[in-house]
Structures are given as C-alpha cells and as structure tokens.
C-alpha cells in the first residue's frame, strides 16, 4: 500500500514537472525565442556563479570540518619513519593542485557568466594564441617534473629492501579467506621454509618441520613490534589476492599466492603515545580532539573513551571475497623492553601443536632423548627453540 502510494507520488511529481516544462516552453514562444533565450542566459549564468561560490565554499568548509579524522591532518600523523615523506609529497601535491583547482573552477564559471550572450553582444574571433599556449603547457610540465622528482625520491626510499647486515626484525603475514595468519621467526630470527602442499588443519602455513628454522617460529594473534626498530614484513597469501594494509603506518602491499612480497617500515610511535596524542588536552584543559573523548559505547557514557581504546589496525585492501571487509588484526607498538617481555611469553607453534605428533619428523628423536636424558640443560642446548616450554 505504501509502495503504491510512493509510486503514485513519484508519477504525480513527474507529471507536474513535465507540465512546468511545457508551460515555460509556451511562455518562451509567446515572449519570442530570442528574448526567452536572453532571459535564460541571465538566470543560468547567475546560477553558475552561485553554484561556483557555494561549491568552493563547501569544499573548503567540509575539508576543515573533517580534518581531524583524516590521516594526513589533525592528530592522525603517520606513525612510521617513512610515512612522513609520503605525507609531505601529499601535501605538496595538495598545495599545487589546490591552487589550480580554485583558479580553473573560478575562471570556468566566471567566464561563462561574464560572456553570456546578451542583446547585441558578439563573440570575439580568437582561434589560438601561441605564446599563451606555450606558457600553459610549460607551467604544468615544470610543476609535474617537481612532483615526479619528489615523489620518486620518496618512493625509491620507501620501497627499498633491507640491506645485508642490517639489523631488522622479519615477520610474516599470510592472508587467507578471511583473516591474516601471522608468524614471527622466534629466537633464531629466521622464518622457516614453507610448502603449500603441507598445509593442513594443524599446519596452517605449511611449515616444513624438517627445517629447523621452523621449530621456534610462533603464530601470535596480533602484531606486536618495538618502536624505532626496522621491520621487514614478508607478505604472502594462501589462496587469492589480499593486501597487507596498515593505514596509520602508510604501509600497503598485495599478498600474492606463490610470490612473497615485502614491505619494510619502522614504527615511530607507540600505541600508548598515539593514544595520549588523541586524548590530549589544550591550554584551557579542554579536549583538543573532542570526538576522541566520546565514549566507545554510546550506551555506556562512563565506559572507556575512544582514544583510550585506540589501536593500530591491519586491514585487507584487495578484494578477496565475501569476507574481505572483516580481516582485522590489531597492531601494538610497544617499547623495546615490553617487546622483549612479550617475546618471552610466546610459545613456538611447533612446541605447542606439532611436537610429538605424527607430523613431527623429530618425534622419534625426541622420544629417544626424553628416554635417555634426564638432564634438561642438554636438551636445551641441542634444541634452543624449546626454551619456551622447557622453562
């Protein structure tokens, strides 16, 4: 019934509009075509100017209104070392394109308004102007060169792989439908070999257990990294394309099945520091960014506020199927000491799930060792990966 009513209303509005159209057409006929066109030129040119002013104002005002929630502005500064160079290029580009945007939009609508056809007015015959054309070809060319050089400089810096002998942490993120599986190398600092044919319910990454580098690798449920330390993320996928996306760190790279990719970055802000910045008070003791002081749960105004609950996030940014929108993992940036502490709490996946099962190539060995040796310290020496469980 309501649908019918809405439909009728729409049809009615349609008829009314068509009738208005017909009436103005008739009025034009009565007034004379030329005079009607002149009137139209006047009103439409006026609307153009109004539109231009409102449009440009709306652009400016909305940009200011939303600045706190945009990553490039407000409190949301880049939390990685390379991020600031990207932010810088972004802002330089915004500066130049902003100028061009305002000048060209204004000229476009203003010329249309100013040179509207009036009674007796005539157009000038101007077919070209070589000097002008050379100038306005050269200016964009120069600006573009500037932006290209700046951009590529930053790009090649950001995308450079780690160099040999450099001190860095390597971690691995594997995308699958629909989550991320994380792997840390454990105390040996090396990720073990993988073979996708070995993937099973108990071996989600297909780790090759005969590779000893695998034995200390652990699978945390969130990314935890120390501040100020270079990280190389090895990014892979188990099934379709995914994309390892850390918005706050300006990190993004596709996860491609069969071809590991990487992204190197250095976190510069801990989660706690970032929270403090979001929750900062200004000189008058009022919240600087009130939106971050809103309660997390609107039903519970006394509960934690948004900034207290803030976490860096890992998302997927390449369409991977129906669960694409929910591949979240929290990212925690902590101090070096906290990181060490966290590492010591982690248990290797081998120890927790594989050891002693039928998948364990060392099962026989381990059993023997356990039978023969009663000295725990000697086990530790032979299998340093076991320190988590041995202690």
């Amino acid at each position: 019934m309501t649908a019918l009513f809405v439909l009728l209303c729409v049809i009615l509005i349609g008829i009314i509009v068509v009738q208005i159209g017909k009436v103005t057409e008739l009025a034009g006929k009565i007034r004379g075509e030329e005079e009607a066109q002149e009137r139209t030129n006047r009103t439409q040119a006026g609307y153009s100017m109004i539109f231009m002013i409102v449009f440009l104002l709306a652009c400016t005002v909305s940009a200011i209104y939303y600045k706190d929630s945009m990553l490039w502005y407000g409190p949301n500064e880049s939390a990685s070392a390379h991020g600031s160079s990207i932010d810088y290029i972004f802002n330089i580009t915004l500066f130049f394109t902003g100028i061009v945007f305002f000048i060209t939009q204004i000229l476009l609508f203003y010329f249309a308004y100013k040179y509207r056809a009036r009674r007796g007015s005539k157009a000038e015959y101007i077919s070209h102007n070589n000097r002008l054309e050379v100038i306005w070809t050269a200016i964009p060319a120069v600006v573009m060169t500037f932006l290209v050089v700046g951009g590529l400089d930053a790009w090649n810096d950001v995308m450079a792989d780690v160099e040999e002998g450099e001190d860095y942490i390597e971690i691995e993120a594997t995308g699958y439908q629909f989550a991320w599986h994380l792997r840390y190398p454990g105390p040996d600092g090396k990720l073990g070999a993988r073979d996708y044919k070995m993937i099973s319910a108990t071996n989600p990454l297909g780790q090759v257990w005969s590779d000893e580098k695998n034995l200390d690798d652990f699978h945390p449920s969130e990314i935890v990294l120390p501040v100020g330390k270079k990280v190389r993320v090895r990014i892979t996928s188990r099934d379709v394309l995914h994309n390892f996306y850390l918005p706050h760190f300006r990190v993004k790279m596709d996860a491609v099945p069969g071809m590991p990719t990487y992204f190197v970055f250095t976190p510069t802000t801990t989660t706690e520091e970032y929270r403090a910045k979001l929750g900062a008070l200004n000189d008058r003791g009022e919240p600087q960014y009130p939106e971050w002081h809103a309660p997390l749960d609107p039903e519970d105004p006394e509960g934690p506020t948004k900034f207290e609950d803030f976490n860096f996030e890992l998302a997927c940014a390449e369409l991977c199927g129906k669960g694409h929108y929910a591949m979240r993992r929290a990212v925690r940036i902590v101090s070096e000491a906290e990181y060490k502490n966290w590492l010591s709490e982690q248990q290797s996946y081998y120890d927790s799930t594989i050891k002693g099962t039928e998948d364990d190539p060392f099962a026989a060995e381990t059993a023997e060792e356990e039978a023969e040796l009663t000295d725990a310290s000697s086990i530790q020496e032979e299998a340093p990966e076991g320190d988590g469980s041995a202690e």
Binding site: V17, V18, G21, T24, Q37, T40, S62, A63, Y66, S69, L71, N76, S85, I86, F90, T93, T97, Q105, L107, L108, F109, F111, A112, Y115, A117, K122, A123, E124, Y125, H128, L132, E133, W136, T137, L152, W155, V158, Y176, Q177, R238, D239, L241, N243, Y245, P247, H248, R250, K252, M253, D254, V256, P257, M259, A315, C316, A317, L319, G321, K322, Y325
Partner: protein, 618 residues
Amino acid sequence: MANVADKPLVHEDDLLIEEYGYDDHFHDHHHGDKFQSNFVTTYFFSQDHKMIAKQFLITGMFWAIIGGLMSLVFRLQLGFPEENMAWLKPVLGKWITVNDAGIGSLAPEFYYALVTMHGTILVFFVLTAGLSGTFSNLLIPLQIGARDMASPFMNMLSYWFFFLAGVVMFFSLFLNTGPFAGGWTAYPPLSALPQASSGSGAGMTLWIVSLVFFVVSVLLGGINYITTVLNMRTKGMSMWRMPLTIWAFFITAIIGLLSFPVLVSAFLLVTFDRSLGTSFFLSEIFIGGQALDHVGGSPILYQHLFWFLGHPEVYIIILPAMGIVSEVLSVHSRKPIFGYKAMVYSILAIAFLSFIVWAHHMFMSGVNPFISNFFVIFTLIIAVPSAVKVFNWIATLYGGNVRFNSASLFAIGFVSMFISGGLTGIFLGNSAIDIQLHDTYFVVAHFHIVMGVAAFFGMFAGIYNWFPKMYGRFMNETLGKLHFWGTIVGAYAVFWPMHYLGMAGVPRRYYRFDSFAAFGSFDLMNQFITIAAIITFGFQLLFVVNFFYSIWKGKKMTDRNPWKASTLEWTTPIEGIHGNWPGKIPTVQRWAYDYGKDGKDFIPQIQPVGADESKDEH
C-alpha cells in the same frame, strides 16, 4: 526518397551543396531504400548509422538505469547497514536474507556481485558502447560528409553483438550462484576459482562470454569508424578540417582496436586456467581444504594484460566526451575552439601515453618497485596534455557569446568535473602517495568524477545538442536545466566526501565499515552520500522522462540548423533520410570552427572562402 529530391531546393545550404557539392550518383543506384524497406529492417536490423546510433543510445540508457539502481542498493547497505531491507526481497530474491525477526539484509556475496556488475555495466555497456557507440555512429558519417559507414552491415553486427553481450550479462544476474562478484577487474585467483567465491563459477563464465561478445562489437565498430574516417571524408574535408568530435572518435577507435584484443587474451588464459588445468595465473594455492596442483603461474601477469586494456579503456571513455564537449562549447559560445591544433595534438599525446601507463594501477600489486618509476613519469606527463585541454576549453569561453542551454551547461559541467577529477589523478599517479591512497575511497572519488560523471556529462551534452538531429524535435529545456543542476550538485555531493573517506584510509569494496575503528567513524557521511545518490538518480529519471516524452511530443524542429553550427550534419534535411543528403554530397571549403569570423555569426563549412575574407592560420 524520390519525392524529397523532386522538391524545389529552397534552403540556402541546399543551394550551396547543389552548386559546389559532389555528385556521387548515390540516388541513381537504388530507387527506394533497400536497407530500410520494412519494419524489421528499419527498427531492428537497420544498417543506417543514424538508427544504429539510437539503438546504442537507448540500450545504453537501459543499462545505465540497471547499473545505477544497483549502486543505490549497495549504497543503502553502506549508508544504512542496520536498516531493514526486506522490502527489496520481491526484486532481489535470495540476495536479501531475512532473519527470524523479519529484518532483511543484503548478503555480502551479493553486495560484491552488485559492486562488480555496477562497474562492468557502467564501464563497458554504458560509457563505452552507450557513449562512443552512439556518437561515433551518429556523427562520423554526418560530420565528414559520408552517406553512411564504410560497412553498414558490420555496423549492424556491431550493435547486435553488443546486444548479445547484454543478454548474456543480464542472464547471469539470475544464476542460482549469482553473477560474478570479484570486482570489475576480475583478478585471478578470485575470478578463476569457484571455491573462492560463489560468483566465480557459472557467473564468471557468463561474464567472460558476455565481454568477449562485447569486444567483438567494439572491434567491428572500431574498424568501421577508422575506415570511414580515413576513406570516406568528402571532398575538401582534410584531416585538419575535421571537427574535434571526429578526431576524438577516430583516435578512440584506434585505441580500442589496439587494446581490446589484449583483454580477450587475458580472458582466454583465465578460461584455460579455469577449465583446462593450466597455470598461467595460479600458483601454490590452498583453498577449500585442499592444495591445488597449479604451480608457477603469476596473478600479476593477468593484471598486466587487464590493465593494458584497462587504462586505454578510460581514455576510450573520456575522449569521445572531450570531443563532444569541444564541439558543444565552441558552438554555444559562438567562438572557434581555442587552440584547435593543440587540442588535436593533446588527443594524440593522450592516446599514445595511454598505452605506456597501465602499471600505475599496479604500484602496490607486488611488481618490482623499480619498474614503477617509469610508470610514474609517463602517468604524470599525461597531466600536461590534459591541462592544455582544460585551459583551451576555458579560453574558448573567454570573449564568447555564451548561449546557456542544457547542452552548453553540461559541457561546462564536464570541464568542472574533469578538473576536479583530473587533479586527484596527480596524487594517485605518484606512486609514493599511492601507497596510502591505493584502493581507498580516494580512488573511488577520483575515477567516478573524472571518467564516470565527466563522461556522463559529455554524453548528456551530446544528447541535448544532437537530439534534434536524431529525432527532429527538441528535448524540453526546462527539464534539461533542472536535470543539469540536480546532477552537478548531486554528483559532487556523492563523490566529493569520498575524498575525505579515502584520506582517512577507508578502503573501497568494504561491505561495512564497523569492523575497524579506523574506518567506522563516518556513519553520517555515508548516510549523506547514500541520500545524495538516491536524489541524483531521481534527477536521471527526469532525463529519461524528458527523452522519451520529447521523441514524440517535443517541440518540433523548424530550422534545420537550430544552433547555427558550421558543421555538415546540420546541412542535412530535418527528417533524416538514408544517405543523409538528398542530392549531392556537400564539399567542404573550410575548417569546422568559423564562428564570429569577420563579424559573421558563423560560416558553414560548405561555404567557399570569400575573396575579401581575412586569413587565419588557426
């Protein structure tokens, strides 16, 4: 036909054509019209370029409505994810799942199907076939002084292959497993493995079949457009006298001919991977609880092949719109297009560059970062010819005598949109910035404004301008202007806020945003965008009503050249006959833009250069 020729030639254009025109004995060969002798050959299997143009246009409009409605459904999901959508169940069937409480919601796989179909339909069926198909067909023969296309039969086939492509795509909407849902770019492995997405089974098969038919249509049309422009220009119509519309259609057809076959090769290889067990794009995949045998392929190879079409494709979409806008702006500001040669050279430069920038869609796809250096350079070079075109359009208005009507308003709106959307391309083309903005709403805003809305504006400008040529009647101007203001305000309201979403890092192709704290704080903006989209769509219905109403009831054309344009199409009789000119073919004496020269409002192209006329090198 015979009695048209028998009528006394009274119109001054006819006198000029009779005096200076070229007699190709067209009307001696077949009396009566063997191509349009009955209802079926007139309205369905027509070989007349003007009728085929209308077929492309109306089919394009049908798809635009379908594609637009799809976007409204997924916009409802994004703006109002908690809202009950059970009322859509009669139309969308099982795409809407209703829970025990009677609350209906759009299933995620169908959300992605809608997004995918919206993209495919709009890019290929509406903005390629509906735009280039319509206006290349209508204007190429009319503006270069040809009786018809080089091969009218191939031209007819071109439309019917497009129609077939549409039928197959439409059919795929009704599949039990749903249409393809892996994004309009159809990246494997998602598109290659039915285990990965329900739409990647039969849905993807039909998607490929449909698009292969579509490519056949584009190639048949394109060969025809190129041949016609090269071989069938009338006497005096040198390349440098062609209107910019023809230049644009000509270059567009060449780009299409060179790039679309590469897309088919990508589809062929995907099909092999899907059904013959090859591994072109697949490697080391574990899905659905089992490890597949495919090893050694690269999904990135598909992306190279896809974007080798995909990037030229955006110019296939925008160049015809640019051509139309150049023509419409010039005619309605009563001034020659500013810098005609610069405009032609920019079209050529853009066309050339469009083939060496494809990997700028792939900066973050895992290609060697070193390679990206070249693609950044070439991509940002495109800004130069694009800027030249914008400056020339603005300079065309300068000193003009601008006549405001729906056509010229949409042309001005096009320039505004092209500026707004083009400038954001400078951000995205710079790979360093693309690290952050890639696959966010910033990209969505960029391409919707620059090639979606702008191309639509070009198309609308063309329709309002040449509607009288198509149907012998005018579209209603009041409704047209209402349509324009509603659309420009609405389109900016929809797409401008998306820049902010993108700058906040919100990724595109998300079914909902609340799983992330970083993306979930824009509920109000998303609601605003959805409401604006619904209203903007409403204004397009106004256009549809105006269009069909005007075909039968619009104001009749009394003057054959209502806009006082100098190009050849306006020298043909109002009623639009097969063969276009009743007698001789007009001979061209001058370039297409003699507006306001020597104090004359305009001088048609068929008028010989007078002895006392001032010389101009253009």
